[in-house]
């Protein structure tokens, strides 16, 4: 059995590798045991622990599905066009139907006949992009501030943490509403604006967490050792401390991702965020559906909101799974 698998690189040391052509591995162990002996890389360990978390697996599956759906939007639907001239459907809104498959599987909007599927798939692009980029930028800023503050301490830490305090104290949602209203002149704002505002007001929480981690990491022996041989502080931060604080960084990112998607949808829903037309999002699709709800067109509200809810849920599951997986203290079993 074992000889069929001669390329098991981790056993090379035991084999007689005098000449490359005549490689004969030592076969002291059965195949099963050899697999168990294979040293796992850190990434493989993470993956193993992540796979233990069933909800995280389901969440990952759903997120892959939604991201693929967003990327492949033009392949799935002909695009967001008012197809009121489309003669496949009669006048008025339509519930989920197999006509013109798959464009109308989630029904159409009012007499303008936008396909709800198209609004969802194209809306996923904007909603996910805003959530992802705001979370990414705010976590990057928060990590930088927290890392510098925690590592250097003293006066730097004091000043930076007072600034963080201010940003943590500012009530986010009312300010967001007034900013969008005033700068958007009551007619909505663009994705870039929302990402900027989310980043400016969203980094403080992460920086607090990362600062705490850095405060303990900088006291450890390996940091001491690196310092004593004269390594540049920024190199210590990037090479030694950041990789060891990956768990709180990743968890902060997933939390921010989920909450920014919800905040953005709420802003759109209130008519103060991204406007449709031209740009569809899950939030503004729900806003336009609200006016039609009394007519019994449930699909127009139900499906976009379902995607939003499931996405937020999936991201929090992934976050939970990652927190367990990246925690080096937790054992595989």
């Amino acid at each position: 059995m074992a000889t069929q698998n001669p390329s098991s690189a981790q056993f090379e040391d035991f084999g007689q590798t005098n000449s490359p052509g005549t490689y004969t591995p030592v076969t002291l162990l059965g195949n099963e045991d050899r697999l168990a002996l294979k040293p796992l890389t850190q990434l493989e360990l993470y993956w193993r622990r992540f796979r233990k978390h069933r909800f995280a697996q389901i969440g990952t599956g759903f997120m892959v599905f939604v991201i693929l759906m967003a990327i492949a939007a033009p392949l799935i639907t002909p695009g967001i066009t008012a197809s009121s001239m489309n003669l496949t459907l009669s006048f008025g809104s339509h519930g989920p139907t197999l006509k013109n498959f798959p464009d109308y599987i989630f029904g159409t909007t009012d007499e303008l006949h936008y396909s709800v599927l198209a609004l969802i798939t194209y809306g996923a692009r904007t909603s996910l992009m805003i959530g992802f980029l705001s979370a990414l930028f705010s976590v990057i800023v928060g990590t930088m501030v927290g890392a510098i503050s925690g590592y250097f301490g003293g006066i730097v830490d004091n000043i930076m943490m007072r600034i963080t305090d201010i940003f943590l104290t500012i009530p986010f949602f009312p300010l967001l509403v007034s900013l969008s209203s005033i700068l958007g002149h009551g007619s909505g704002v663009g994705p870039a604006f929302i990402i900027t505002v989310f980043t400016i007001f969203g980094w403080a929480g992460t920086s607090r967490v990362i600062r705490g981690v850095f405060l303990s990491l900088r006291e450890l022996e390996y940091t001491e050792a690196a310092k004593s041989v004269g390594v540049n502080p920024f190199r210590i931060i990037i090479r030694h401390l950041l990789p060891n604080s990956i768990s709180p960084i990743v968890v902060s990112f997933t939390l921010a991702f989920a909450s920014f998607i919800t905040f953005e949808a709420a802003l759109d829903f209130l008519g103060l965020g991204v406007m449709f037309p031209p740009t569809a999002t899950w939030g503004n699709t729900l806003a336009s559906a609200q006016g039609d709800i009394a007519n019994g067109d449930w699909w127009w509200t139900f499906f976009p909101g379902l995607f939003l809810t499931l996405t937020v849920l999936a991201i929090s599951f992934i976050g939970d799974g990652l927190r367990d997986a990246l925690d080096v203290r937790s054992k595989i079993d």
Binding site: P171, F173, P174, S181, A266, L272, Q290
Partner: protein, 342 residues
């Protein structure tokens, strides 16, 4: 304690002024385009300069914005929150008219929310790992992820639209009173009518408020009851609980006297954090169910670029949030003497 209070105030006061300054500066970013178009529509290009200047003077747009900021700040401390450029109604008066509707929505919802969260949290902690606990975990997880606006809309679809078309009976979902009554909620006329038709109007209000209350509570219950469960589990693992059990106290006393009273402390202090929301209104829930409260007023102003109202509301809600954050932090020390501030 005194030191800590002073330090918190030293941070909070600049934050409050920063909030007023940022909001005001942004609102006056584009003074002519913003306030004037909102005030008289895009037609201001055809007005004479004298007419324009007269309007600018009345709106306080004839002085540089940083001077105007101090005028506005002075008025703020005299209790003058400004006047709407659209309705010419003083903001404080408008808020007073809308506050009853908001309180009707937020206060009962909050009371139910806290009672249910504490009860559910306690029971699922006591039966950790049971079927009830698993079900509870799943439901709270799901409700925590559901955005308020979608939950509200789905409730309207089910109980407001589909149910009536199936069985001919459903829940109303627009406003606080039946529009056929013809009396807006909160007006003097309403109060006099309410005195004579107490029972029927009360039932009408409850019928209209069931869905808004539930929508507002759902997310809060999901968060608070999980929190309560965690607190309770933490306390149940304490040594003094083991001692209490060991010396043979009845389970009832161990749970309700020794555990719950300790676990409930953080929840009680959370009430402080909720008060700004109770007054500031539930922006999204009010929007969905057409309840004309303070949150609705804020969004209406934001959508129509009524900048004095937007600034006033931001500063008011923000100020309350900052104030109650401090009060909550300080109250931890009062309810739990073990906490030391330094």
């Amino acid at each position: 304690m005194l030191n800590y209070t002073i330090r918190r105030l030293l941070i909070a006061i600049p934050v409050f002024f920063a909030l007023t300054f940022i909001t005001f500066a942004i609102a006056r970013w584009n003074p002519d385009g913003g306030a004037l178009t909102a005030y008289i529509g895009p037609g201001h290009h055809i007005m004479s300069t004298a007419q324009l200047n007269a309007i600018k003077a009345r709106l306080g747009l004839n002085v540089p914005w940083f001077i105007a900021y101090f005028y506005w700040l002075g008025n703020l401390f005299h209790g003058d929150l400004g006047v709407s450029v659209l309705t010419h109604e003083p903001v404080l008066q408008a808020l007073g008219e809308r506050l009853p509707a908001t309180l009707l929505l937020t206060v009962p919802a909050f009371v139910f929310q806290e009672i249910l969260s504490v009860t559910l949290g306690i029971f699922s902690a006591l039966r950790k790992g049971s079927f009830f606990d698993e079900l509870f975990s799943f439901i709270t997880y799901a409700f925590f992820a559901v955005p308020t606006f979608w939950l509200g809309l789905v409730l309207i679809i089910i109980f407001g639209v589909e149910l009536p078309s199936l069985i001919g009976w459903g829940l109303p979902f627009n406003g606080i009173l039946d529009p056929r009554l013809g009396i807006p909620f909160g007006t003097p006329l309403f109060w006099s009518y309410y005195k004579t038709h107490f029972i029927s109007v009360t039932f009408q209000i409850i019928g209209h408020m069931i869905m808004p209350w539930f929508t507002l509570m759902a997310v809060g219950i999901a968060g608070d009851s999980r929190f309560m469960r965690g607190q309770m589990l933490g306390v149940l693992n304490m040594d003094y609980i083991r001692t209490a059990r060991a010396k043979g106290l009845p389970a009832r006393i161990v749970v309700w006297k020794h555990s719950v009273r300790n676990a409930i402390i953080p929840i009680v202090t959370n009430i402080g954090l909720a008060i700004p929301g109770l007054i500031g209104g539930a922006i999204i829930t009010e929007q969905i169910f057409g309840i004309e409260g303070t949150g609705h007023y804020f969004i209406e102003a934001a959508q129509s670029e009524d900048y004095p109202v937007v600034i006033a509301m931001t500063v008011l809600i923000g100020g309350l949030v900052i104030l109650f954050n401090i009060l909550t932090d300080l109250s931890y020390g009062l309810v739990d003497p073990r906490i030391r501030y330094d």
